[in-house]
């Protein structure tokens, strides 16, 4: 375990150095690099085409010599009676482990909820953490599940330092049960997520065991741009907390707003995966943060009207506004992308960006799995399987045309899942796994529990 960690750190350091050098070669250290990519930079002439636009944000690794920005965390722990036994023990362990990795100038609040919500530790600087550790050790399970209240209280503790620009703000929610006190529908919790997102607070949700409501938990996380995890055994908790904290400690940019403008003759159709908004020929995406060393992106399907051969079209202009988390200054960057039209089929195939195709396919697969879940909820396994198969067939045809091996693999996997769905139906466990994975795909979450 130790050596593995050591190697991974070494690799990280090497990667970091490489990135650092390359970053230096072009531009001075930018926390976020904006890229604009298309699935096919060369399009067939004289036909209406659908292009996938990928707006990617690469978070730079934090320079080793620079102190990381402090974090403002609220840990919201479900202590309803269902957490009895090993679950609460492991949850306490995980929380203590997380506490030990925080620096004295980080802020932490601990909220526990059962039937009512109790702020065990009001938001405060961590310091030596001894008092907080005492409180965490004393958490005992009882009562019901006031999830909405717990998250609200967590957010209100985080809000105390919301105006301090140094902090990255985050609520970490651990629950193993159905919310049964207060607002409890996925919609309402999703709306709470959206509202918190506007304030710059993300909610990370950790669903423990097989009893929690995955729709609610993933919706809350996705709408607030937080991570989501499905942890089947409480043994995995400490490592999930560590991964989550790794992300939070690694925030390089905050309040990221991406605007994409399209020229006349290009019509944005919809976002795939990460949610965004389309107004006429403009598209907007908001992210609460970008983590160092990770790529976050949004995929937009656009319709391009037919052009003559050899015509060139500036397909999109992307602009990103964000707050540099290290230097606490606003940054604006721009990127442009252009497509060329040709009647040479080979040139089109050759130009294809297989990476973008694969990203698109992954997110489409996630969408289809969400549809499949909805169909399974209506007890229509055949329809669910055929939905998955239809997406697989699409992938296969694109894979054949562009000789994309990754897509072939994806299609095969999707078909296998369709077959399994027909054979075995969808278990509670796989439903949770699907939901979590779908959210993780849309969010490009770096760590998953499986």
């Amino acid at each position: 375990m130790k050596t593995k960690k050591y190697f991974s750190r070494l690799a990280m350091a090497l990667g970091c150095a490489a990135l650092f050098v390359s970053a230096f070669a072009k531009t001075p250290a930018e926390p976020v690099n904006l890229r604009l990519e298309f699935d096919r930079p060369v399009l067939p002439a004289d036909s209406m085409e659908t292009v996938i636009v990928k707006v990617a944000l690469d978070g730079a690794r934090l320079p080793a010599n620079k102190k990381r920005p402090p974090v403002n965390l609220a840990l919201v722990i479900d202590r309803s009676s269902s957490m009895h036994g090993d679950k609460i023990v492991k949850a306490r362990e995980a929380a203590l482990e997380m506490l030990s990795r925080l620096a004295p100038d980080d802020r932490l609040a601990v909220i526990a909820y059962d039937t009512a919500v109790e702020t065990l530790v009001p938001a405060q600087l961590v310091g030596d953490g001894r008092e907080i550790a005492e409180v965490i050790r004393s958490i005992r399970p009882r009562g019901m599940t006031a999830l909405f209240g717990g998250v609200s209280q967590g957010a209100s503790e985080v809000r105390k330092a919301l105006e301090d620009v140094r902090f990255s703000h985050r609520v970490i929610l651990l629950s193993d049960g159905q919310a049964n006190v207060g607002p409890n529908s996925p919609d309402e919790l999703g709306n709470l997520g959206s509202a918190l997102m506007k304030e710059g607070i993300s909610v990370t949700t950790i669903g423990l065991g097989l009893g929690y409501n995955e729709d609610l938990m993933t919706r809350l996380a996705q709408r607030s741009d937080g991570n989501t995890y499905f942890v089947e055994s409480s043994d995995e908790l400490p490592q999930i907390f560590a991964a989550e904290l790794g992300d939070v400690l690694n925030v390089v940019a905050r309040r990221v707003v991406v605007d994409v403008e399209f020229p006349e003759g290009v019509r944005p159709l919809r976002f795939v995966g990460r949610e965004g908004r389309i107004d006429g020929r403009r598209a907007h995406v908001r992210l609460n943060q970008v983590y160092g060393g990770q790529e976050k992106f949004a995929l937009i399907e656009v319709e391009v009207s037919s052009r003559r051969k050899n015509a060139r079209l500036p397909l999109a202009t992307a602009r990103v506004n964000y707050e540099d988390a290290l230097n606490m200054r606003p940054v604006t960057r721009e990127a442009r992308g252009e497509v060329r039209f040709t009647d040479d089929h080979d040139a089109v195939v050759k130009s294809a960006n297989q990476r973008v195709q694969a990203d698109y396919a992954l997110n489409r697969a996630a969408e289809s799995r969400d549809v499949a879940i909805a169909l399974m909820d209506e007890r229509k396994p055949t329809a669910a399987a055929s939905e998955l198969r239809a997406r697989a067939a699409e992938m296969r045809s694109v894979a054949d045309t562009y000789r994309n091996k990754q897509l072939l693999e994806l299609a095969a996997k999707q078909e296998a899942e369709a077959a399994r769905l027909e054979r075995e139906g969808m278990s509670n466990e796989s439903r949770k796994l699907y939901r979590a994975q779908n959210a993780q795909t849309a969010n490009q979450q770096s760590t998953s529990s499986r």
Partner: protein, 580 residues
């Protein structure tokens, strides 16, 4: 007898006093109980009233908070410049957490914004929910929907309020008036430069024109939506906002007391009866036990209510148990007095009986002493005066004097033995001796006495010796007492039978039987009690101390044997002495 009566009177007085105390205590307790009950009821009523007042305050706080949100959002809407309205609304919608959707509508109620072009679920949902509703029932189409009432009924300024709600209000005021969510600190930019998307151009501008505005809570698809709308004069479009309830709800927590009083609980419930916030002690299951239900103003949050709960008073301090505890204590006290009085009475009666017995004992003993003394004096005087010339007579007189002296000595011995036995100081000197020989010797010595009493002695003694380990003197004393007893009370029978038989397992039995009047069955045990005489008439005829049998039995027991009285077949009594 008078003493007994006196003691009884004293006891009776004690009883009366004790019962009086008991009755008094009962009465006081009852009075105290009813007073406690009244006081508890009053306290309970006060608690209820206080809880109700606090619930009302919570309700007013909620109304204030929602009122603040309403006026803040409507002010912001009013102040947007007409020419850059689209951009302002976009930015507002995407940055203010309280704003779910900002909309524009025509005066006739057709929806102008948001448009339905992209695949934006949120906007689709809004249009689906409200486009028809706006066309049919939008409040701004009614001319009588008068001027903004925002400042009228919710800004009840004179209300006293607590710090918690003040800060919650400040927060929602700042939030709802912010067109763009830029925290104040950041905007001032101490050290940190201003963030680029804080839009300087669209600072609130004072609008001179008056505006019609309203707050429209409406339930669509079973869910409550709070819509606020403004129609500035001189403009064509109605501006509105769909408030994000998920963002508003957490902030309503500030309306509830942070720390509810002991045993109190408050719940804020939405129109579906779901608990949104609670503080203090609230029953988990049964929410119907609320002591107060305060509805929230229906123009702000229709169907919402604040419930107040009180913990039922603890049973341990109930007046009933106080009463019974007090009554129990008083009863114990009275019982203790009466019982101890009765015990004292019994003790006094027993002491009195003892005293009577002792008096009669002294009288009897004195009497017993007197007879031999008189005899001795008479004969000694006769001899002294020298009137008796006959030598035979002289020696007979001397023998009489000697016999009477022995009798005196026996009496004294009995009295001494009695006191020794009473004090438990009697010591036995056990040695081996032959019971038959001892008996023979004793009977030989007593033969003259028996003959004198007119009784024939029948010996039924075994031939062979019967060896026992016993105290010779004690044995002699027992038999002497038995025989003396027989001479005294059974001389009329004219016969005394003494028999001895050995037990196979060791030990022996001596039976002394007479043909006298016998002992009634009821008296057979009592005759062994000290100072006891079978009947008064007998006492009158025959003097005696009443100690002989008592001493004999105590000695027999001291030797490890027993002495009992039985009826003798053919009349008379038989005393059976068993020896180990």
């Amino acid at each position: 007898m008078t003493t007994t009566r006196r003691i009884f009177v004293y006891w009776f007085l004690l009883l009366v006093a004790a019962l009086g105390v008991g009755a008094g205590a009962w009465w006081l307790l009852q009075r105290e109980e009813s007073r406690l009950l009244v006081r508890t009821e009053a306290a309970e009523a006060a608690r209820r009233a206080a809880a109700e007042a606090r619930a009302t305050l919570v309700g007013e706080n909620v109304e204030l908070l929602v009122g603040d949100v309403r006026s803040g959002l409507l002010d912001t809407l009013t102040n947007f410049a007409e020419d850059e309205l689209a951009e302002s609304l976009d930015a507002w919608e995407s940055s203010n957490p309280l704003v779910r959707t900002a909309f524009l509508a025509s005066s006739t109620g057709s929806l102008l914004r948001p448009e339905v072009n992209g695949a934006d679920d949120e906007r689709h949902g809004f249009v689906r929910r409200f486009s028809t509703l706006f066309r049919t029932q939008s409040p701004w189409r009614r001319p009588e929907s008068a001027k903004s009432r925002a400042d009228g009924d919710t800004e009840r300024a004179s209300r006293s309020n607590v710090a918690g709600i003040q800060s919650a209000r400040r927060e929602v005021q700042v939030l709802s008036q912010n067109k763009l969510y830029v925290p104040a600190e950041r905007a001032r930019g101490s050290g940190a430069p201003k963030v680029a998307y804080a839009d300087e151009e669209s600072r609130p501008r004072a609008q001179t024109g008056l505006a019609r505005s309203g707050w429209w809570p409406v339930t669509v698809d079973g869910r409550l939506h709070l819509l606020g709308w403004v129609w500035p004069d001189g403009t064509a479009r109605v501006r509105g906002v769909d408030v994000e309830l998920a963002a508003l709800l957490p902030r309503l927590a500030g309306a509830l007391p942070q720390e509810a009083g002991a045993g109190e609980g408050y719940v804020l419930r939405d129109e579906k009866g779901r608990t949104i916030h609670q503080s203090g002690i609230v029953p988990i299951q049964n929410l119907d036990t609320a002591v107060a239900r305060i509805p929230i103003a229906s123009d702000l949050l229709p169907g919402w209510e604040v419930l107040a709960f009180l913990e039922p008073p603890k049973t341990s301090s109930s007046p009933l148990s106080f009463f019974w505890l007090g009554a129990l204590l008083a009863a114990v006290l009275v019982l203790a007095i009466v019982t101890s009085g009765w015990l004292l009475l019994r003790q006094a009666r027993r002491s009195e009986a003892d005293a009577v017995q002792k008096t009669s004992f002294v009288a009897n003993v004195s009497h017993e002493f007197k007879t031999p003394l008189t005899t001795i004096r008479l004969y000694s005087e006769l001899l002294e005066q020298g009137r008796v010339a006959d030598a035979n007579k002289q020696s007979e007189y001397l023998r009489i004097i000697g016999r009477e002296t022995q009798r005196l000595a026996r009496l004294v011995n009995n009295a001494l033995d009695f006191s020794r036995l009473e004090e438990g100081r009697k010591k036995y000197q056990r040695e081996n001796c032959d019971l038959v020989e001892e008996l023979s010797r004793l009977l030989d010595a007593l033969t003259p006495r028996l003959a004198e009493a007119g009784m024939r002695l029948i010996r039924k003694l075994p031939e062979s010796p019967l060896m026992l380990k016993t105290d010779r003197d004690a044995l002699e004393q027992i038999l002497l007492n038995l025989i003396e007893n027989a001479c005294k009370y059974a001389a009329s029978g004219g016969e005394l039978e003494v028999s001895v038989s050995a037990y196979e397992e060791g030990g022996a039995e001596v039976r002394v039987g007479d043909r006298g009047p016998g002992v009634p069955a009821a008296e057979r045990e009592r005759i062994f009690e000290k100072f006891h005489r079978v009947d008064e008439s007998l006492t009158a005829e025959k003097s005696g101390t009443g100690l002989g049998l008592s001493i004999a039995r105590q000695l027999a027991r001291g030797l490890g044997g027993e002495l009992r009285c039985e009826a003798r077949p053919g009349g008379g009594a038989v005393f059976v002495l068993t020896l180990p």
